[in-house]
Symmetry: C2
Subunit: 211 residues, 2 copies
DNA sequence: TGGAAACTACGTAAAACTACTTAGGACCCT
DNA sequence: AGGGTCCTAAGTAGTTTTACGTAGTTTCCA
């Protein structure tokens, strides 16, 4: 039986070892593993595995962009995202950018093997927990994913300034607009993002890379 | 040769597998592994390994407190902290609370084995990168502002709740203390951290892994 | 066992932010 | 030309947070 070839990209050696251990007893062949985005691209250039297990958070490159680039250049490689983040936001992003599967890092052997086999058959595989949070979002109308809410240019600008620790007053000075305007923008942002308070805003800013 | 017994506590199965894989070829016997603090305490009650590899961030318990408790109750167990956080702040905390070693999760096999052997000989073992940042801090007098400032347990707790989007009032309810007390703590935190506003606090919370 | 640190709490006043509404002018797209 | 969105701004009235000071009790540990 021809083995399924696997590539691994994760910045933690321990995790790589863990994956190797999990996959060692089955019909898989790990053809490369790397701990950074650059190395991944180099490896992919040499050899394209059937399945790529891709950590979203690597030091040198953004996993989401990486995913898009890889699925564009090597459309036959099935990408399974591997991450701690179960927010639907990331899931959607990854799927839209060509990932075929989405696993969390606390996954077990059975799940991982199942995921690999599913994507090899051309199906999509999402971690159970991730599926659940997507469902919740749809059914319960939980806050729809962050990125879908579009902030205007001005709003983004103001959110960035808020996150940069400026007060409304300081922002007004800096942008040469009135305090009231800043307040209006801020309120609009809060409503759009369904933010309870300033803390939510800061977290949002993190997610949007404004910090 | 009598094997060195090892206990593992980490919330990611993949990491546990990774450690098992790394240690499998040597004279080590893994006597238990668990993915939460409660399970760890139960396991420890049954059997005390020579070395405990302890993840600082587990869902149900704070690794630093856990470390203190374990080193108090089982002084013969050598604890090696295992984490992503290389900030000197954590390192000091862990060492003060009885850890004998401090490894980062991107460690390799050689390092891990070396660390285990060192602590078994009664020595302290710090990851090279961690050592470096401690050195930098001392030698270059890196900004003490952020990491060196110690928050008390209560303050840390409150900072975490702030970062979890609770208002002062909600925090008061949750901790069964008065609003005024929360305000006092909060003010103290802000002063300690030299924080201009809530945003600084949230950022601090990020740095300290409270989010 | 004595002292330091931590946790608790209140008073008062000012500053900052939130909520909801309305509205004019600018700009873009069809 | 009309409709939509965006940016601007203000009114009015609240709530929440900050600032600074004081101080009693508990906990820890040297």
């Amino acid at each position: 039986m021809i083995p399924i070839t696997i590539g691994i990209a994760d910045d933690h050696l321990l995790v790589i070892q863990g994956i190797r251990a999990m996959l060692s007893k089955s019909n898989f062949e790990i053809v490369f593993s790397t701990n950074n985005g650059k190395g991944l691209l180099e490896n992919l250039y040499e050899i394209q595995p059937d399945v790529l297990l891709l950590d979203i958070q690597m030091p040198d490159m953004n996993g989401i962009d990486l995913c898009r680039e890889i699925s564009r250049n090597y459309p036959d490689v099935k990408i399974i995202a591997l991450t701690n983040m179960d927010e639907s936001h990331y899931v959607k992003q990854m799927i839209r950018n060509g990932a075929h599967g989405y696993l969390l890092k606390n996954t077990d052997q059975t799940t991982m093997i199942e995921a690999i086999e599913e994507v090899m058959m051309g199906n999509q595989y999402l971690d159970r927990q991730v599926q659940q949070s997507l469902m919740d979002e749809v059914l319960l109308g939980k806050r729809r994913s962050v990125q879908q809410v579009m902030l205007t240019k001005r709003e983004t600008e103001i959110l960035a300034l808020i996150a940069a620790e400026y007060s409304n007053n300081e922002i007004a000075e800096q942008l040469f607009i009135s305090l009231r305007t800043v307040e209006t923008h801020r309120l609009n942002i809060s409503h759009k993002l369904n933010a309870k308070n300033l803390v939510s805003l800061v977290k949002e800013a993190y997610k949007r890379g404004l910090i």
